[in-house]
């Protein structure tokens, strides 16, 4: 994940691809550090945003699933 200063946004870069990263996605991706598993990521986000873990988990799974289908993240 990189800061794109010229366009004022965060991006996820892949070969021939640029994914614009919004604030929600950035919060998820910065927790994808290769150490935390899904439940740890969900727990951290649920605590940080005071939201139900079930709702958060659904969103995280969908987002990472999309990126996985595009071969941008690995699980």
């Amino acid at each position: 994940m990189r800061r794109d200063e010229a366009r004022g946004r965060w991006t996820l870069l892949a070969p021939e691809r640029i994914f614009e990263v919004d604030a929600t996605a950035a919060a998820v991706l910065e927790l994808c550090d290769g150490e935390r598993d899904l439940s740890a990521i969900v727990a951290e986000l649920a605590a940080r945003y005071d939201a139900p873990a079930g709702v958060i988990e659904k969103d995280v799974v969908k987002m990472l699933g999309d990126l996985k289908a595009k071969r941008v993240v690995e699980t």
Partner: protein, 371 residues
């Protein structure tokens, strides 16, 4: 001229640097210009490092370290490091020939993000024939293995023509076997050296359509395993491709000696003035250089492009192809069905594809380097 200055263009997304035109392969469809540049005129490490910093400051995100064969540069690890330190996403576009384990380790350590490896065929005989290099197959496979062992993402690039079109399915299998995340199925584009070999390389339309259908059928099946990007052969297309994403719109190509080009073949268009990164900043070149301004946007267009609803999708297609096939770089790309030349081009392609496959003129760095 006193007219209004045009608004500054949006920054480029990527910069492709042809670090050298030296290359061990002899591909019949080589995308480097007809007149190759000599090693003596190549930019030095520090100058390239400055180009990378300027590219990042301008807003570019990707740098494609290309050639020729970029690893023919002795300073390729230092160049990779400089690009990574500038904050660019670094993509090495390589034949895989000549990259030792030691050099590969240095590239990874320098911060390389991704490797794109070419294959000329999906088996040893086809690969080594069309790369014009005996033993390339084993070396390419060894390179792929180093990339995946290091955990770096790997793309396989296959340039497709009459001699290997039947292997599109086998290229997909090869990409899966080697652990690539992405495969480029790039049908040959006919300018420069490839244009010289067009009659030998042009595939028949029905086989092209079958190969496209094969890729489209494979995509959903391979979701999550392999992404397949396809560049279609535009002689048989209905609409032209937006060459380089639109002239002077998303990409800059820099030649070994530092000439900044809107696309790799732009020097084939006579009368364009190219500025050099040794003399001007990349930002100034991007904004003001006559070559980048020549076909930027839509003001240069004539009919049928000017009033076309796709003018900001196709951007008029490819200027080099328009020149090569119609003699006029500002004409509509004849790959478009609206071009008055389209029927003639498609008929010519069909008749070339039906004729027996003629002799191939292999590329040779030694023979074609400019005097």
């Amino acid at each position: 001229m006193t007219g209004h200055a045009p608004p500054p263009p949006a920054p480029p997304i990527g910069v492709l640097v042809e670090l050298t035109h030296r290359c061990p392969l002899g591909c019949a469809y080589c995308s480097n210009p007809i007149a190759l540049e000599r090693p003596g005129v190549e930019l030095d490490t520090q100058t390239w490092a400055g180009v990378f910093r300027e590219a990042a400051a301008l807003g570019a995100l990707h740098v494609h370290l290309s050639g020729g064969e970029p690893t023919a540069r002795r300073d390729i690890a230092a160049l990779t490091r400089a690009a990574a330190e500038a904050g660019l996403y670094t993509n090495l576009i390589t034949s895989g020939i000549g990259v030792s384990e030691k050099l590969w380790g240095e590239l990874v350590e320098a911060g390389l993000d991704h490797a794109q490896l070419s294959f000329q065929g999906a088996d040893k005989a086809t690969n080594d024939r069309y790369g014009h290099y005996d033993g390339a197959w084993e070396r390419k496979r060894a390179f792929a293995s180093m990339v995946t062992k290091a955990g770096l993402p790997l793309t396989l690039n296959a340039v497709i023509h009459r001699g290997n079109l039947h292997q599109v399915g086998a290229f997909i299998e090869l990409a899966l076997e080697l652990g690539a995340r992405r495969l480029e199925v790039a049908h040959t584009q006919y300018y420069g050296w490839a244009l010289k070999n067009r009659a030998a390389l042009m595939p028949p339309k029905n086989e092209v359509m079958d190969a496209i259908a094969l890729v489209e059928a494979a995509r959903p099946r391979l979701e999550g395993r392999l992404v397949i990007d396809m560049v279609v052969p535009d002689y048989y297309a209905r609409y032209p491709k937006p060459c380089a994403g639109g002239w002077g719109r998303v990409a800059i190509n820099v030649s070994p000696s530092g000439k900044a080009l809107p696309c790799h073949a732009a020097e084939s268009i006579p009368g364009l003035e190219f500025w050099n990164v040794k003399e001007r900043s990349l930002a100034e070149i991007w904004r003001d250089s006559p070559a980048f301004r020549a076909f930027r946007g839509t003001d240069w267009m004539r009919e049928p492009c000017r009033s076309c609803e796709r003018r900001e999708i196709d951007w008029g297609g490819c200027r080099c192809q328009a020149l090569a096939l119609t003699g006029d770089a500002a004409a509509t790309d004849p790959a478009c069905h609206k071009s008055p030349h389209h029927a003639r081009i498609e008929a010519m392609a069909a008749s070339e594809a039906e004729a027996p496959m003629g002799a191939i003129r292999w590329r040779s760095y030694k023979e074609t380097v400019e005097a």
